[in-house]
Assembly symmetry: C2
Homo-oligomer: 226 residues x 2
Amino acid sequence: MNVGILGTGMVGRAIAARLVELGHSVMIGTRDPASTLARTETDRMGNVPFGDWLKQNAGVRLGAFAEAAAHGEIVVNATSGSASLAALEAAGAENLSGKIIVDIANPLEASQGMPPMLSVSNTDSLGEQIQRAFPESKVVKTLNTVNASVMAYPQRLANGDHTVFVSGNDADAKATVSELLRSFGWQDIIDLGDITSARAAEMYLPLWLRLFGTFGTPFVSIRVVR
Amino acid sequence: MNVGILGTGMVGRAIAARLVELGHSVMIGTRDPASTLARTETDRMGNVPFGDWLKQNAGVRLGAFAEAAAHGEIVVNATSGSASLAALEAAGAENLSGKIIVDIANPLEASQGMPPMLSVSNTDSLGEQIQRAFPESKVVKTLNTVNASVMAYPQRLANGDHTVFVSGNDADAKATVSELLRSFGWQDIIDLGDITSARAAEMYLPLWLRLFGTFGTPFVSIRVVR
């Protein structure tokens, strides 16, 4: 499958590498590819410069947001939450129309210190904002509840015995995304409902951030017991 | 131990019965005991009239909010979130001073339909509101992430293999409450941090409500894997 991924950070990289490993054709999109490739410093999250990463992941191509979106039958939003709507606008509604947008981002903002808070919550969510902005696309919120490494390789934590959620208005889109998640190794995939249920998945983040703080590792997740 | 419980609903009843079973001395507080005892109808949650329940739970006493708070070395807030601050005001700061307030309530409000939303979140929490209103008390937020039956008998779900959280500013208070939780059967008790971490526990509620809706049962909880 052709997949476009918006965002060159650790989430975009982790998903891209995993998709290539599983045989998919992946283009990562960024605002300005030349500028992204010109970076020579490790970013504040400890990621090596993107150009170095790209050399080690030769199966992945880099393009502008619009090129990556055009490439994808599915488009993954792996940008930071505060940049997501602008990145998708740059990708272009015409390149997203009729397609699944897998929204992994969290609307975190750290202007008031750590842990970050949510810039939207309770009565709305980033997933809903994206669905409203791109009504011709099928937004599926998922994977935002775990760190990048665990997203791509759920078995790296508790032998994969934990839960991932999907939210979205389109049942077929959720089924397609769930199949992709199973190919990553996810075993327990819970459909929370329509895209308004993205509020629930995003509002879990403050708990995840506290658990991260308590245990000192981002390798933390939840298993829903019922 | 003497425990005062504010609230005559299913949460207050479940905690009261469990505490009596474990040998504690329990008084439940309500706004107007005569009025509470005069009720003859099953409430909208399906609970039998309180007077009937009290006959079956002879070890529990009923009093006004202030009497129950005065009785307790520990006071449990088991009122609905929208009524909590008023109930605690009625209980009286003088009856709560120096004591642990175990805050189980969730600030849910359903004025915009179901599932309910939070009336406070992200930048504040009910736990913090209570702590600010009663600075001489030690608020510990806990148990708000599961239903009443599971609170009191965690082993009724997944053999108790799931997680409960505590948040609060006072380490000794959290230790005392954790001991009580262990006596209920809780095995995995995670200290999320100071009372600001009550935001995280309360903001989990929208996810719990969606899981309730998805599975059609309130017997749902999470196990933190790490």
